[in-house]
């Protein structure tokens, strides 16, 4: 298990957020799935932008977010 802090990736086509800590269960990515382990042919579930056009961002969450918490 990597000790690297979890990172957040933003779709540059629409702003969809992928947070490694949360994963995206509804899109088949378990909590804790690192960006490097997301398949290369994965695309933004909202707009279809390819994985390589996401940008890693160091932006904090707004108060009360994220509503979705990582499961143990």
């Amino acid at each position: 298990m990597s000790n690297e802090p979890f990172k957040r990736w933003l779709c540059l086509g629409c702003g969809f957020l992928y947070d490694e800590e949360l994963g995206s269960a509804e899109h088949g990515l378990a909590a804790g799935t690192r960006w490097a382990d997301v398949p290369d042919d994965w695309v933004c579930p909202d707009c279809g932008t390819p994985k390589h056009l996401f940008e890693m961002v160091e932006i904090p969450y707004a108060s009360g977010q994220p509503v979705q918490r990582p499961t143990a």
Binding site: C14, V57, I59, P60, Q65
Partner: protein, 250 residues
């Protein structure tokens, strides 16, 4: 995204999208609407240019041609999307609860935050020209919001007017950016003072002729400047000139 550059009008990315065929679910209008987009920064199929400028990611100079042309309702998160109407009429619909019609000089800031949809339409037969700017937020998943303002090129001519950012009368957004307009009908010299020396300034010539620190810009040319100190010298030509000035933290 903090390297200075000059981008001539013809060097921008160009896309033409039709309301028929592959893009018909994305592009509104029927049967023969077409949307053209000149991009200053990488967006969509254009990926060989500048990635952005500080906290700015998208700068699209777009024309909606044909009745009903525009973007069908689609989803966003996080980005603060600003639209500045230059020509025609734009109908904007969003899931914050707004149905808005904007004319030349009108502008809006739509913060998609935790999730929102919007639709952009030209309901008239003449072309609509809009500049779209996307800004990264300083917090993720903010409550979605929408606000609009108006720039009057007659009453607000020959002086700098801040439209977006931390200034009197400007639309507030959740990011360290400032968007200003400088429209002149004669030669005017202005010293633009940055909010912080670490900031950069992207100047886009909507119309006319201008000089930015002695660099000449013609219609639709632009320049991004970093490390230029705390002020930038702007000079406009004798004919009508219209500049959009975007200041951003790195």
């Amino acid at each position: 995204m903090s390297t200075s550059f000059v981008l001539r009008a013809s060097e921008r990315g160009y896309n033409k999208l039709l309301s028929t065929g592959q893009s018909s679910s994305y592009i509104a209008g029927h049967p023969e609407a077409r949307l053209t987009r000149h991009s200053s920064f990488n967006f969509g199929p254009y990926q060989t240019g500048h990635k952005g400028f500080g906290r700015l990611r998208v700068f699209g100079d777009e024309v909606f041609s044909g009745t009903g042309c525009g973007y069908n309702i689609h989803r966003h998160h996080n980005f603060i999307i600003c639209a500045f109407v230059l020509k025609g009429q734009l109908t904007h619909i969003n899931t914050v609860g707004n149905i808005d019609q904007l004319s030349p000089g009108d502008y809006y800031a739509f913060s998609a935050g935790s999730g929102g949809k919007h639709c952009e339409l030209n309901l008239r037969s003449e072309d609509t020209n809009v500049i779209y700017v996307w800004i990264l937020p300083d917090q993720l998943l903010l409550p979605p919001s929408y606000s609009r303002g108006r720039f009057d090129p007659v009453y607000e001519r020959n002086r700098l007017v801040t439209l977006v950012g931390n200034a009197d009368g400007a639309l507030r957004v959740s990011q360290d950016v400032k968007i200003s307009r400088f429209a002149t009908d004669k030669a005017v010299t202005l010293e633009y003072r940055l909010s912080a020396q670490t900031h950069g300034v992207y100047v886009f010539a909507i119309e006319g002729q201008a000089w930015v620190n002695d660099l000449s810009l013609s219609r639709r040319d632009s320049t991004g400047i970093w490390g230029g100190g705390d002020r930038i010298n702007l000079r406009t030509g004798a004919e009508d000139t219209d500049l959009l000035i975007l200041e951003s933290a790195p």
